[in-house]
């Protein structure tokens, strides 16, 4: 087994979940309606839980402790995609980003529950049910936003125009991923992307949204980040860094 490649793959997954969870948590107290505030906080908490599961797997392969990974790495050491770094935007942007991510995760986890690396298969089984619920929630919202008023439609289309190219970075193969795919540990990026497109394209179309022609992500390299990541980390890591020896 190509352990360094697996560790890098798991770290990328963990970072995507952590940063997305943080962006969603920024809505706490600000969501458009109380019930949705609770629902999104709930989704954010689930994604944070999934990040923890992935960090634990990294740690088990000889990586750093999950808290060290989350709170003591600089932006340049993170391996998240730029889609999750983007500011939360309006409600349509947040819901559409979460939808595109949930659709991708649900497909990925359906593969990972059969991973030949047993600890990953077990973690995936835990996460899968929650992702199915997230997808139900975001699907319901996108339908209503896309088919709702002229304003909700316009905002959702604008969000899709911005997010569609960014989302493609999720599937860009990581170094060594081909080895992992041929060992049946993780799926290859291309078939993952195809399955995702086959699901999200018809759904978005039924929501009266137009799939943007541009599907080239700004980068496929997870070592390169947008300008939004560093300020986000400053916020996320602030409390932990106040007192390095504190026990939580």
């Amino acid at each position: 087994m190509n352990e360094p490649a697996l560790q890098a793959y798991l770290l990328a997954q963990a970072d995507d979940h952590l940063i997305l969870a943080h962006r969603n948590s920024e809505w706490i107290g600000h969501a458009p309606i109380l019930e949705e505030d609770i629902a999104l906080a709930n989704i954010a908490q689930d994604e944070l839980g999934h990040a923890t599961l992935f960090y634990d797997l990294v740690c088990a392969l000889g990586g750093d402790d999950p808290d060290r990974l989350a709170f003591w790495r600089e932006a340049g050491k993170f391996r998240c995609v730029q889609m999750v770094e983007q500011p939360r935007g309006d409600w349509a942007f947040t819901m559409l980003r979460q939808y595109l991510f949930d659709a991708a995760e649900t497909i990925l986890l359906a593969h990972l529950v059969h991973s030949s690396y047993a600890p990953l298969a077990q973690a995936a089984a835990k996460m899968r049910n929650e992702e199915i619920y997230h997808l139900r929630h975001t699907t319901a919202w996108i339908k209503r936003l896309g088919l709702g008023t002229a304003e909700s439609h316009q905002r959702t289309q604008a969000a899709l125009d911005a997010l569609w190219p960014l989302a493609q970075q999720l599937f860009a193969p990581l170094p060594g991923q081909a080895d992992l795919a041929s060992a049946g540990i993780v799926p290859d990026g291309e078939s993952w992307q195809q399955a995702w497109r086959a699901e999200v394209r018809p759904f978005l179309t039924t929501c009266s949204l137009t799939i943007p022609a541009n599907d080239t992500p700004p980068t496929t390299d997870r070592t390169r980040h947008s300008a939004h990541l560093a300020p986000l980390l400053a916020d996320l890591q602030q409390v932990a860094r106040m007192e390095q020896e504190a026990v939580w």
Binding site: L34, E36, K126, R136, A140
Partner: protein
């Protein structure tokens, strides 16, 4: 000021198979599907749930024992057309979280007549009851049994959502406790 909230839905939660659905509170939602999703997030964060129902609050007819005593003919002139109603009753003040619970179904020509029928057949007893509800079955939407795994089961593994998970400082004993 205009109320910009969505319509309110009453939420009924079933803790275990075979137990009655119990009213647990309400959520705002634009429609029944979103009401079920919101109900899950608001009321199923802690175990235990196997099924949920929602009904628009506007579809609920409610009658208290006092209202019955004041107006025993409450059902006069309400008949419209026969349809099945779900009946709910609150029979005790013992548990603060428990409001009305499911108590069967009848076909009646109005919600008022549904309660009258339950009073006559002995299902509802003024001596023990505090409040009754009648809700048209057509107004109730329920969760799909297939959704239990993704909607409700994950909550049972989240002990950190239980109050008892967190440390507390006792006002009498200056100690911090945390259960693992």
């Amino acid at each position: 000021m205009t109320d910009t909230q969505w319509p309110r839905y009453e939420v009924f939660k079933q803790d275990l198979p075979g137990q009655p659905h119990k009213a647990v509170g309400s959520v705002h939602a634009p429609d029944a599907e979103m009401a079920l999703l919101n109900a899950r997030d608001v009321f199923a964060r802690r175990p235990q749930v196997v099924s949920m129902w929602v009904a628009p609050a506007s579809a609920v007819f409610s009658l208290t024992a006092e209202e019955l005593a004041a107006n025993p003919e409450f059902w006069q002139g309400t008949a419209v057309s026969p349809q099945p109603y779900a009946l709910f009753a609150k029979r005790s003040q013992r548990r603060s979280m428990t409001f009305v619970e499911y108590a069967g179904e009848v076909v009646a020509e109005s919600a008022q007549l549904a309660i009258k029928q339950a009073l006559e057949d002995g299902r509802f007893q003024p001596e023990t009851a505090i409040v009754w509800w009648a809700v048209p079955l057509s107004a109730i939407s329920g969760s799909d049994p297939q959704d239990v795994d993704s909607y409700y089961a994950p909550a049972t593994a989240k002990t950190y959502r239980q109050q008892s998970y967190y440390g507390f400082v006792s006002p009498t004993r200056k100690s911090v406790k945390r259960e693992p």
